[in-house]
């Protein structure tokens, strides 16, 4: 075995990023049991409420506000929070509450698609590497090593520099930098399952590789993947905000939270609300995903049950 070489290197890591040590659930209904554990976890419940709230405002954004996120008004520049503008206005006189609400759509969307993308390609490469082994494994693992040799935000910046700054390219960059994280996780799971008796039995019966992979190997790797994906949402949202902050993500007038922060930072003294609310929103969403992720890990990891 290779050493458990340090792998995860996001500057905005979620919790420990240990690979969750989930063994193949043996009980009759492991998922039910896990769910029972999860809803007993208070932090996870709080996390679900937070995320539920943000999903709600993202979906019903137009109903929650009477303003549009791009409408400018010279007369309303930099107004402090009030009953007409709950979170105040920015330097172009736009309503910050409205921009936060619409921004929830952007952040959740980026988190979702970046994780799905990374998950899909990461799992694919991880399965191929783990199942076929040998030189295929060699090449894929080395590629993962090389990608992980770059601090991830730096790699994302380089990718965006190549593709050009836009929300879509930021999303692609975040998906790419997360591929090796899922890839390694899946690979190690596949390797440990590969030699299990029932797989060997399936092989002996002449089952095709593809069928074995999708019917046996993949389902048995889901638990750690789910945990990692949940935590990954938070990380992806943070990374997208960081790119936006550096001007490499969403472009105006898109109400992306990170971009709102950097656009307003010069007003931090004269109009602190312009910086306060976007930052709080980012933190809350990430916190929500981290709470759920922690709860899921505890629920799915039998070792932690006491």
């Amino acid at each position: 075995m290779e050493p458990t070489s340090p792998s995860k290197n996001s500057p905005f890591p979620g919790p420990e990023h240990q690979e969750p040590q989930t063994s193949v659930p043996a009980a009759a209904s492991p998922w039910k049991e896990a769910f029972r554990q999860l809803i007993k976890n208070k932090l996870a419940i709080v996390g679900m409420i937070i995320i539920g709230f943000f999903i709600f405002i993202a979906i019903f954004a137009p109903l929650l506000t009477t303003y549009t996120y791009q409408a400018m008004s010279a007369a309303d520049r930099l107004q402090p929070p009030s009953s007409t503008h709950w979170f105040g206005t920015d330097d172009l006189g736009r309503d910050i509450f409205t921009r936060i609400v619409y921004g929830a759509r952007i952040s959740l969307m980026v988190g979702f698609f970046a994780v799905i993308g990374a998950l899909f390609f990461g799992s694919l490469l991880g399965i191929i590497a783990g199942y076929f082994g040998r030189w295929i494994d060699m090449i894929i693992s080395r590629i993962f090593d090389i990608m992980l040799a770059f601090p991830s935000i730096l790699l994302a910046i380089a990718i965006v520099a190549i593709l050009g700054p836009s929300l879509q390219n930021a999303l692609i960059a975040i998906a790419i930098i997360n591929i090796p994280i899922f890839g390694r996780l899946v690979r190690s799971k596949v390797i440990s399952i590969r030699e299990e008796e029932y797989i060997l039995a399936a092989k002996a019966q002449g089952m095709k590789s593809g069928r074995i992979l999708f019917h046996h190997v993949l389902p048995n790797s889901t638990a750690p993947i789910i945990v990692q994906a949940t935590l990954g949402f938070g990380t992806a949202i943070l990374e997208a905000a960081a790119l936006g902050f550096l001007g490499l993500g969403a472009q105006p007038p898109t109400p992306e939270w990170g971009r709102m922060l950097s656009d307003s930072r010069q007003y931090i003294q004269s109009a602190p609300w312009t910086v306060l609310f976007p930052g709080l929103s980012i933190m809350l969403v990430v916190l929500g995903f981290n709470m759920i992720g922690d709860g899921l890990r505890d629920a799915l990891d039998p070792k932690m049950k006491s």
């Binding site: 172009l92 006189g93 003294q269 004269s270």
Partner: protein, 559 residues
């Protein structure tokens, strides 16, 4: 007395902090408004009797947003480089402290002969470079030849140096067709002549530019292409050290040719990229002058004790250009209609916090030949819509090309595009904002791929030809004329004005050209922006020059 003064300043600082704590520093201007107005701009000169006591520590810290690129001034065009090299180097002529009026510099006197084909400069005697080398006619010849000749041993072509400003100002390089300097002759130890093969109206203006300053010949010998990090000139300050992206330290040159100058012992150019951090540093006294004050902070700063503000005269234009080679922008009526659509005042309120003037001509207002009789296209969306309809282009859909980087004339291009997009929407024109990487943007607009594009231009020598010749002359296609504007009459007026050396004649020619240009409307002139600086009240005699930077020779710190 000194002590009392110090205390009052300290009290001012304390007040500032309380004010910020209470209301975010937005609204504490009422009481001290009068004081602020007198402080504004001229405070440096009229600091009053008690304030003019020079302080013991004559170190000035000038904070700015970005670092210099190179201290080989002629090879780079960024303002942050010349800001520093102006302290170290001097040119043959110099500009007046707040205008582009030329006066003696390293040359005490000069004559124009042969109807502007020959210039003879009498150089100042007893001037030495910081390394002790004597300044003389040979040094002048060497400096000019090294820029003109790409094969010159000090042109450093192999090391990647390019002296593009020389090419722009003197019609190219040695061997190029348009290169106007035929030869440079040393007539005596301190007398040098320039022989031109064609008259050049801006020749003397060019001689005042900080790009054409004098470097010590011995320094080329010693440092070679590392001259960009080891500047040696004749200026009031000499180079001490440079830590990249952080600070450049200069100290007083003791043998400076002007008696009792400079007054400062040390000047430090400090990089602080963030506007608000720079302001904090000024308020806490860590720095003395800051460039790039956020216009929104002006209100808060007015009346703040211990702080004064400086306005720099405007010297640029931000514009929205049409591609006259493309339909329907080949129709002047369409261009005029769209000129009526933009609300410049609103743009200035939103993006410049009123620190800009609406533009009606290409050149800034205090330039030679500025035609103030031009009636600007008034903001009138209904008229604009009507005109567009009459021209048969109602409901037009256009691509609005937006520059990806901020410039002094366009501090936030993306936001400006959003504002103008809304203006166009009001007259039924759909503007799609198109953005791309900066170099691509410049290449594609040069190649004429665009409909409408946003760009600007900053003056370097106070000469109108630098604007007209580069932006609206048909010779500048492909090149700076991204409007693809061709008008033979305008071309001929500009040519005459360029080669004429009679100022009045030039002014008339430019005024006439502006009338035609206004009628043709090849672009929508948007704004001339006014940069604002802030400084400690103790800074005396600081006068911002329209050229984006100025020598700090006379500046002094008072107690």
């Amino acid at each position: 007395m000194k002590k009392a003064l110090f205390l009052s300043i300290a009290a001012g600082t304390v007040l500032t902090f309380t004010a910020c704590g209470d209301n975010g520093g937005t609204d504490n201007t009422e009481t001290d408004n009068n004081a602020a107005e007198t402080n504004n701009n001229e405070a440096g000169n009229e600091g009053g009797e008690e304030a003019s006591q020079p302080a013991e520590d004559q170190t000035l810290i000038f904070a700015r947003g970005g670092d210099s690129v190179s201290l080989d001034y002629a090879s780079v065009t960024d303002g942050e480089s010349s800001r520093v090299t102006q302290q170290i180097y001097e040119s043959l002529l110099s500009f007046d402290e707040d205008s582009f009026e030329i006066g003696p510099g390293l040359a005490e006197d000069w004559e124009v002969e042969d109807d502007g084909l020959r210039y003879v400069f009498q150089l100042r005697e007893g001037v030495t470079f910081h390394d002790g080398t004597e300044f003389n006619a040979e040094a002048v010849k060497l400096n000019f030849e090294r820029w003109a000749d790409p094969d010159h041993e000090y042109h450093f072509a192999d090391e990647g140096y390019a002296y593009s400003v020389y090419g722009t100002q003197f019609g190219g390089f040695e061997g190029d067709e348009g290169h106007v300097i035929e030869e440079i002759n040393v007539l005596g130890d301190h007398e040098v002549e320039f022989v031109l093969n064609e008259t050049l109206g801006s020749f003397l203006q060019n001689m005042g530019m900080s790009y054409f300053a004098m470097t010590s010949p011995a320094a080329f010998e010693e440092y070679g292409s590392a001259i960009n990090e080891n500047p040696v000139g004749t200026g009031p300050f000499q180079f001490v050290s440079w830590s990249r992206d952080d600070s450049i330290v200069l100290e007083k040159y003791e043998d400076y040719w002007q008696e009792d100058l400079p007054k400062l012992d040390q000047v430090i150019f400090q990089v602080i990229p963030d506007n608000s951090a720079r302001l904090t540093a000024l308020r806490s006294g860590e720095i003395d002058i800051m460039d790039g004050l956020n216009p929104d902070d002006i209100d808060a700063l007015e009346g703040e004790e211990g702080i004064q503000m400086f306005e720099r005269a405007t010297n640029n234009i931000g514009y929205l250009g049409f591609n006259a080679d493309k339909e329907p922008f080949d129709d002047p009526e369409v261009r005029r209609a769209l000129n009526h659509a933009i609300d410049k005042e609103n743009l200035i309120t939103l993006l410049y916090a009123d620190m800009a003037e609406p533009a009606k001509n290409l050149i800034p207002p205090d330039y030679l030949g500025y035609n103030d009789d031009i009636e600007p296209y008034e903001y009138d969306p209904e008229l604009a819509e009507q005109m567009l309809d009459d021209a048969g282009h109602a409901g037009l859909e256009i691509d609005l090309w937006t520059m990806p980087v901020a410039r002094p004339y366009m501090p936030d291009p993306e936001r400006a595009a959003e504002v103008m997009q809304a203006n166009f929407a009001d007259i039924g024109v759909t503007a799609n904002i198109v953005s791309m990487e900066w170099a691509t943007y410049l290449e594609q607009t040069e190649a004429g791929e665009h409909d409408l594009f946003m760009l600007g231009w900053s003056g370097v020598n106070g000469d109108p030809d630098y604007f007209f010749g580069n932006l609206l002359h048909s010779d500048a296609i492909p090149g700076g004329n991204r409007n693809f504007y061709r008008n033979d009459e305008v071309d001929s007026l500009l040519d005459q004005a360029k080669t004429s050396i009679d100022e009045d004649e030039r002014a008339e020619l430019y005024e006439e050209a502006q009338e035609i240009i206004h009628e043709d409307a090849p672009m929508i002139p948007l704004v001339h922006s006014i940069p604002v600086l802030a400084g400690s009240e103790n800074v005396q005699n600081y006068v911002p020059h329209p050229q984006t930077s100025e020598p700090l020779t006379e500046v002094e710190i008072s107690e």
